[in-house]
């Protein structure tokens, strides 16, 4: 749209939201990908734009903490705000009840302070700046444009009723199903509306499947059945303009089943709880008291390309800013006490592969 074009800074790369702003909430990316927002602007930045349409996002839950729900809530709410149809499935008896907990955009008075203000305070020595990758998409420069794509969602403020009661939302309970066929059919119907092949709607849709292999489901021991469900879901999603987010608890599955699911994911995230009052961690990390949990980014979707996405850091702390807004921050190690022994713990900013692979020289 012409009006948006003039507001974009002239230094912004061409990959801005101009072309796709016909449909609210879509953004073009490299290799023909189109992104939709995850509802959390920090996560969009980490993933290089957002969730890719046609991709399968899997979130590995921590059985001890419900942090995956925070991610789901933001994802679902963002979609509803953009009038993107949503299909939600959960193992509870009444999934609709969960919709009442979806967050609403925060008031503009509490704008989350973003990097531009930080950069004034922290000046990075010029020769190190080259090691920091420039963010690909123009998200920061224009606040108005940013809110078109990703809202700052206030987790304490419920979403207005009219978003939830519209025909946009469909809920499926899988608690009493003997198997996943019902859910598979509902997903197939939903995905058919957004098929890229037969000129389906060119807007985007979202599917959120919560804890699909939780023990209260009757089929939770039918691992091959569950795997083939995810596989067919992935196949159908690939040729449609939908992002499918599935959360599952890997600790409740056999290791090979969990690995298969991880391989099938296009984008793979995991959330972990942080123990309260852990003195070791408190010494190791700054801001430990504010942290709610940890987010690990294992894989980022690479559709239509073979180049892997290597992130600067793969572990982030989950914090609730002002107790309302979900933010992800890079981990900062506290200054190391020179007299102490160990300095690098497991929660380092970089990911560490602990496998020892023998090399033959």
């Amino acid at each position: 749209m012409a009006t948006t074009r003039t507001r974009v800074s002239s230094f912004a790369p061409n990959l801005s939201s101009v072309k796709s702003s016909q449909h609210l909430g879509l953004k073009n990316g490299p290799n023909g990908a189109t992104f939709i927002s995850s509802g959390i602007s920090d996560l969009d930045k980490i993933l290089g734009g957002g969730f890719t349409l046609g991709s399968l996002v899997m979130i590995m839950e921590d059985a001890e903490a419900p942090h995956h729900m925070l991610l789901l809530r933001n994802f679902m709410s963002q979609g509803l705000l953009h009038r993107q149809p949503l299909l939600y499935s959960s193992p509870s008896k009444d999934p609709r009840g969960f919709l009442g907990t979806l967050p609403s955009p925060g008031s503009s008075k509490d704008d989350i302070s973003r990097e531009p203000s930080h950069e004034k305070d922290l000046r990075i020595a010029w020769q190190y700046k080259k090691y920091f990758s420039v963010p690909q998409l123009n998200i920061n420069t224009n606040n108005g444009g940013q809110h078109d794509y990703c809202n700052d969602l206030d987790l304490r403020k419920p979403l207005e009723r009219h978003f939830i009661t519209s025909n946009n939302v469909d809920c499926v309970s899988i608690q009493n199903s003997q198997n996943l066929d019902v859910l598979k059919d509902r997903c197939a119907e939903f995905l058919a509306q957004f098929s890229r092949n037969e000129g389906g709607s060119s807007s985007a849709g979202r599917i959120a499947i919560q804890s699909f292999c939780s023990p209260q489901c009757k089929y939770s021991d039918m691992e091959w059945h569950m795997l083939s469900f995810i596989r067919s879901l992935k196949g159908m999603a690939r040729s449609s303009n939908v992002v499918v987010v599935v959360t599952f608890p890997p600790s409740l599955l056999s290791p090979s089943c969990s690995k298969r699911l991880q391989h099938m994911a296009d984008t793979l995230l995991s959330v972990r709880a942080i123990p309260d009052e852990d003195k070791e961690l408190a010494k190791l990390l700054t801001g430990y008291q504010d942290m709610v949990g940890l987010l690990n980014v294992h894989k980022v979707a690479r559709l239509n390309t073979q180049v892997p996405v290597i992130l600067e850091a793969t572990t982030f702390s989950i914090k609730l800013q002002k107790r309302k807004y979900l933010v992800f921050e890079c981990l900062n190690q506290a200054p190391v006490d020179g007299s102490g022994g160990s300095s690098y713990g497991n929660y380092d900013g970089c990911s560490r592969s602990t496998k020892a692979v023998s090399l033959d020289f």
């Binding site: 691992e223 056999s254 090979s256 239509n304 592969s353």
Partner: protein, 261 residues
């Protein structure tokens, strides 16, 4: 075949410029198994071999069994690597068998021959090839773990299928290439499945992340184990190559550890 640009991967797989005349396609009658894990994908090796298959000989054909990605994905990736799959398909040199939605019927139901049907399809495609394109055929499977899923976890069916394919390709001097996710089987209940396939393979390409973690300049390490390169005096040799790689849009760079150019 291009004489220049024989990188470490080509050499490890057995491409030698001076032997190009005698045995145009060094993967003839051989089974290349590529293994990877969640942290580092080995799909780039498949793309590399796919591209080389077309340039190996003017009359080679490729049959691609895709269980993991649709054709648009491969089309875009290969186009950036300098290979046009669409035109190869039009000239009858590239056959894409889309198996994304293939699901074999569960045991107990009458039609228990899901994978047998796939094999028959491969045979049919080969038989229908024009004689010029029939000389060097490469069958590529992406990937075995998805194939196992499609077979409802029946690893015996998958092993049988691979044996059949291997027999078909080795007897006719064709090549078989497959990708497998080895970390699925390492802590699992059936490590024998992975070991059987590794045993069957003539060339094993293992892709792993660096032991020290992620890096922007080096995406991982590769170990290529090439069995029986030349059976001289009845002694079979095993060649092992280790090197690092960096994947780019238009090619993949291979270099020895520490020699990043």
């Amino acid at each position: 075949m291009e004489q220049q640009g024989l990188d470490l991967m080509d050499q490890a797989l057995g491409f030698h410029s001076n032997k190009a005349q005698q045995q145009p396609w060094p993967l003839c009658g051989r089974f290349v198994l590529v293994e990877d894990c969640v942290d580092t994908s080995g799909a780039f090796v498949l793309h590399h071999i796919l591209k080389r298959s077309f340039t190996s000989h003017p009359s080679s054909a490729v049959i691609f069994l895709a269980f993991a990605n649709p054709i648009n994905h491969y089309d875009r990736v290969l186009r950036k690597l300098g290979c046009n799959l669409a035109s190869q398909r039009d000239t009858g040199r590239f056959f894409f068998l889309d198996m994304l939605m293939l699901q074999c019927p569960v045991e107990g139901e009458p039609n228990h021959d899901g994978l047998a049907a796939v094999f028959e399809k491969i045979e049919r495609v080969i038989n229908e090839l024009s004689p010029e394109n029939k000389k060097f055929v490469t069958v590529i499977v992406d990937d075995i773990s998805c194939l196992e899923l499609a077979a409802n976890g029946s690893s015996n069916d998958v092993l049988d299928f691979l044996h059949y394919c291997y027999t078909l390709t080795s007897e006719n001097g064709y090549a078989l290439v497959a990708l497998n996710h080895q970390d699925i089987y390492s802590d699992g209940e059936r490590p024998a499945f992975k070991l059987e396939i590794e045993y069957l393979a003539d060339i094993l390409v293992k892709v792993d992340p660096l032991a020290t973690g992620l890096a922007k300049d080096v995406h991982g390490q590769v170990m290529v184990l090439n069995k029986e390169t030349q059976k001289q005096h009845g002694i079979s040799s095993i060649k092992v190559n280790n090197f690092h790689f960096k994947i780019k849009e238009n090619n993949t760079e291979y270099f020895y550890a520490g020699t990043r150019t």
